[in-house]
Each structure stands twice: as C-alpha cells, then as structure tokens.
Assembly symmetry: C2
Amino acid sequence: MTEPLSFEPPRGMRDFYPEDMVWRNRVFDAWRQASVSFGFQPYDACVVENLALLQRKSGEEVSEQIYHFEDKSGRKLALRPEMTPTLARMIAAKQGQLAFPVKWFTVAQCFRYERMTRGRKREHYQWNMDIIGEESVSAEAELLAAVALALKNMGMPANGYRIHVNNRALLSEMLAASGIAANHHAAVFLALDKRGKIEDTEIRDLLIKEGLDETAIAKTFDLLSVQTLEQAAARTQADSPAVKALRDLFELATIYGIADRLVFDISVIRGLSYYTGIVFEAFDTERKFRAIFGGGRYDSLLTAIGGQPTPAVGLGFGDVVVVEVLKELLGETAATEKRGVIIGYMFPEQREVATALARRLREAGEAVELMLAKQKPKQFFARASASPAADAIFIGPDDVTNGCAKRKNLTTREEKEIALV
Amino acid sequence: MTEPLSFEPPRGMRDFYPEDMVWRNRVFDAWRQASVSFGFQPYDACVVENLALLQRKSGEEVSEQIYHFEDKSGRKLALRPEMTPTLARMIAAKQGQLAFPVKWFTVAQCFRYERMTRGRKREHYQWNMDIIGEESVSAEAELLAAVALALKNMGMPANGYRIHVNNRALLSEMLAASGIAANHHAAVFLALDKRGKIEDTEIRDLLIKEGLDETAIAKTFDLLSVQTLEQAAARTQADSPAVKALRDLFELATIYGIADRLVFDISVIRGLSYYTGIVFEAFDTERKFRAIFGGGRYDSLLTAIGGQPTPAVGLGFGDVVVVEVLKELLGETAATEKRGVIIGYMFPEQREVATALARRLREAGEAVELMLAKQKPKQFFARASASPAADAIFIGPDDVTNGCAKRKNLTTREEKEIALV
C-alpha cells in the first residue's frame, strides 16, 4: 500500500487557481506595461543561482534564510532570495559590451525561508526595475515615476499610498557631524532599520556592541527626531550633496507629476547592506500594511562582486502586499472582468456548427470557450453565468436550420442574432 | 582576500539578456494569446513541489533526474521536472468545487538534471494546456487547434511542422490481437518509445526482460511497420474504439482547419507512463530538430494520486526547440521589432522640457526611453540607432526657444515636428 499524498502545496508556497490569477495578472500586467512605457528592457535569469554570489552580497538576515542545496556534482546552489545580485552578475559579465545607462526590468520569483508568522509566505514574485550607469537622481525620479504608473494601472488611487524617501548619504553626513566615524555607519544603519521590529533597548544593545558610547548613542537616536528636509539640512554643511540630491529629486517629481505622493522620512533606511544613497519605501497611506515596494541607490555593488565601478539604482515590488492593499481599497472582486463568449450546443449533431462558429470568432480575435460535449440549455447557462465570458451562444437544431443563433449578453440579458454560416 | 566570483549562471541554467527576451516574449505571448483565444484559464503553482508527489507519477527516467533537497524542517522538496503532477494535485484538492470540464493553462519553469550533451539545458519553460473532465476527442481537437494558433502567432508557417498522432489504446488493441497480455503493455510502450534513442537490440533485451518470447517480440516490432490508420484498423476489431477516436479526431481537425498538419504515426508513444489514449508529438517538417511539443490523454492520473476518476488530456510545449526551428525558418533577427520613441537633450537646461515631453507621450500610451543625462547629438543618435526605439527626439536650446522639436523615424530618416508644450 502506498500512503495517501497530500494535495497541499509545500508549506509557505502558493498555488494559483484561476480566481487567484485574476489579481496576479492585474498586478503583473501593470508592472510590464509601466516598464515598457518607461523604456525599460526585459531580462531574466534562472531562479537557481550560485550560492557564493548570494552570500557575498545579500544582507545578513537574508543570508540565513536562503534555500540552498547541492546538485549531483556537488555544486552549491540556491533559490535566490532577491534579484539584485543576479542582475549585478549579468551586468558584470557583459560590462564591456553594454551601452550605459541600461534600464532593465524583470518579474522574478524569490524565496526566503522565514518563520510562518503573520501570513508571510516563503516565496513571492518581485518586480525589479534597475537603472545601471547613471549617477544623477534623474534615475531615481524615472524609477519612481514608472512605479507610480504601475500603481495607477492597477487601479490604486494616487492618495492611496505614499513613497517615503531618505538618503543614506544624508544620514552619514549627520552621523559624521555628530562625531560618529564612517566605519560605524553601516552597522548603525542596520541597527536603526530594525526600529519598530525590535525594542529600542535592543537597538541600543546593538549600538553598544558596535562600540558606540552613550553620547554617540543618544545622538544617533536624536537624528530620528528630524521631521523635515530643512531640519536635516540644518544638521549638515550648507553645501551638502545629500540634501541637494533630495531637493533635486523632489523637483523632478513635480515635473513627473508625482510630488503629491513623495514624503521625506528620516526613518527609511532599508535592511540590505548594499545601499549607498537615496533609499525609499512605499506604504498605503493609512499604514495598515507592510511596505508595498522599496529600493534605492547601490553604487558599490558592482565592485563588490568584482565588476567595474558603476552607479546603480533599483527597486523591488512584491506581489503580496499590493494585492492586500488593493483589495482593501477597491474590494475583493475589483479585478474580475467579463469578456469573450461561451458557445454550447444541444445535440451531437450541432457540434460541427458550434466548432466552426468558435473557429470563426477566434479568427476574428475573440476569446471563445467552446463546450466540448452536448448540454441541456439549463446546464449550459448555469455554466455560462459562472464563467468569465461576457456573452453566451447556445445552438440547438432549429438554430442550425435557420442558419442563425442568439448571442446573449450574460449581464444585461440582451440578445442579438448571429449568423451560423 | 575573498576569491573572485564567477559571472556565469549555474551550469545548465540560462540568463536572458534583453536580446534573448525578444524571442522569449514572442513565444510566451503567442502561448498566452492562443490560450485566451481558446478560453483556457490561467493557473500556476510554485516551482518547488513535494518530492513524494513527483516520484509517485513521473516516468522512471524523469524520477532519477529530479533536483531535490530538504528544507530546514527536513521536508523533502524538489524543483518540478514537469507540471502535470502539480496540476493533478490542484485538481484533486478542489475536485468537489470545480465545474468540469476545466480548461487550464500555465507557462511553468521545469528542471531536469540531465547530462549536458547536445546543447540540452537543465531548465526550460513549458506551456502546459490541459482539459480535465472531458472524455471525447473534442478535447484533443480543441488542444491541437489552440497549439496551431500559438504557432501561427509566432510566425511559424503551417507547412513548417507536422503533428504526429497515435493512440496508446490502439497499440494495446493491436498487442492484444497479437496475443500479448495487457499487463505487459505499459512496459512494451516504454521500450518502444526508446526507438531511435537506443539500438533495436537493446529494445529487444528490454522486451525479453519483460518476459516476452521471440514470437511476441517479432509481432511487437511488426506493429511498427503499420503506415496508415487503415492498416492499423485492419489489425483490430471492426468496431475498435481506438480507431474510431482517431477518425473522429481527424474529422474535427478538418472543421478546425488544421487537418493539413496532422499525420497518423504508429511510432509516437511518449515516454511518460501516465498516458492512456491518444498521444501526439510535433516536429519541424524536415525533422532536423527534437520534438516541438507533445502530449496526450491520461485518464488514470487523478486516481493514481488519490483523486476521483477523471478523464484528462494535456500538452507540454517547451521554449527551446521552437525558437531553434523559428530561427532556422525565419532567420535569427525575425523577432526584432522597433517601437516607441527615445528622447535626449543637449544641456542640463533642457532636462525639464525633455522630461515633461516624455511624461506627455507616456500618458498618450507610447513607450518612451528618456535619456537621464545630457548628451552630444552624435552620442545620442548612436545610442538611438542601437535601441529598440522606432523614433528619436533630440532637444537642444533652440528647440526649447521655438517650442517644438523634430521627431525622426530612425529607419526612414523622415522627420516631423512635435510641439514641446
């Protein structure tokens, strides 16, 4: 006796039934359309990546959560937790041949072995958009305008979300002005990023461990009291490049028509260690959900993996949170869309006519669901109503004799005649 | 010192640069459009599957080639080698709630650890289309008509490929008529399927191992001499259901307009053990490449994994061979398509106008690549020519003064004026 198999997917992994795909396609289509509209070119790579690459440049927390295994030749492989190291590898491999800046996008499945709390999954799809080779904030502005279009394409209202923007270089300048040496900054960023996830006393412990004294720790926490870019500017030099970059970004945001959604937020830091400049995270306006997307500038990643120095900025936008937000704002069924036609027939004698009609309508560009066996009218219309089709055509013997049938709109019940020849 | 990282993907895995995505998108778009046109609904599942499910129902050869690993809780997981077991699991999980027949499709990445010969990869994407719950050959005909539309959408000429069709039930009837008992048929199918891959003497050895005597082996090989459906019919009973199914399928193929591409071929058997009825495999007409797609009827799979008895038919269509065939028939660059517009500017002072123009054209639905820094005209037009854009707009100080610029078609060199306000 073989033991019964589970019909469940592996723990933390998702099945997508057609009703789930309605939302997923809405999100994926919006991502792709915005990418194309903004002149980003598609790329992709296998979900299986070399473990060494992922360990080299992912954040500490991510590294612990990598699904890894050996293949039959003993190669150390992994399911990628994020796309950026792979992108950096692909850029580095062709660095001499590419015309920079390059603007690339992908929709990539990523895996993290996390504890299964708060509805977290162990895999998600992530839209990645990156601009490699452009040092000015034109790149950040272009990315954020593209992501705003994607959200609009999904039906997200402009006042439904806010993009919180900061600059790690600004934090660095402020820390330096407080007398905290540059070699501590990376550790301070990672500690401060945990705020809200762990207690402030635990953050304090991390800072003590990094070697900061009481005064430095107090100054570090004090930075987070900054509310506006003007307050931040007052704490750095008058010609601060970090402040200038943020001001330039907000100015460009006005030209792109997205300034209403951008807010300066000193608390945005991002968990990944490779960010060097502007960082951003978007939330629903009421902040009921986790971040919708996030990203920033990572000018040192290419050199870190062995490539040439190359400025870069990118974002990651997962498929889970945005659907939660959209369902909250628009309703569970907002993505449903009726389209195309369903065709059925009463007796085997009408199969040929029904099939020929399906062929004709498909050749004219319509989506046609053809019933593959005879049905009673009641059976057919029950199925038709539950299907995604907008219209229904049911063919009986008289219709064939008359050479025409009725095409019925399943919502309005309106009928119009359609020729069967 | 850290050792230098490889910029190569893991062995057998593919990177897709934008130039590779041109072909991939052509194939994926054709698959999706044909699926939607034929009323198939999308589904998907995670590439990580329970190992037990895959081992239960994949063919013997496939089972040895599964990438498998344990997660941190000791769960035995695997990268799926094919989608059908996952589909069967998903159907079984909701068998009481689904309205049969269901018609589902997906484009799924699948993995096989194969020896790296003849340019084979260890992963590919596979279009899967399945009809679950329909016992008549209407289902097979619908599938084959949909796949013919997908090939047409890709630019494949109707005479560029042939779909070779057989029926395992017909082979069973013929084996039974030759006195070979039903319990041997599955093993005989798997042995005969190896024809062309291994020597006939090795196939003979497999049949001896299965317990067939010399007479039975001679009769088995003799079956493969059958050239036409009429010859096959002559070797079974007059009312053979297997012959009737094939005749019905060829008749429906005429109504669907695909009869010119279908050929009866007794040698088509398929390697997977779960097929029970009609099986098919498509090849380029000159048979220079491996199979483009294949599939068939598998009426027992649902019961084998513990679900209710449910007839089913499906196909798998990989992304590798078809691109080889299309490149051979249409040329390497056939998929390239110029579209959208690229916008550049000469001095920082024109950035705002260029950005505002990009915004306006994007809002009008155009794909716009905006340069993110100033360029000299020569630099800009060199980049524009190498880009996928159809048109180029370069903005200098005079254009801003005049309130209009030139939109240049990069192929014909024609120019027309475009307002900058």
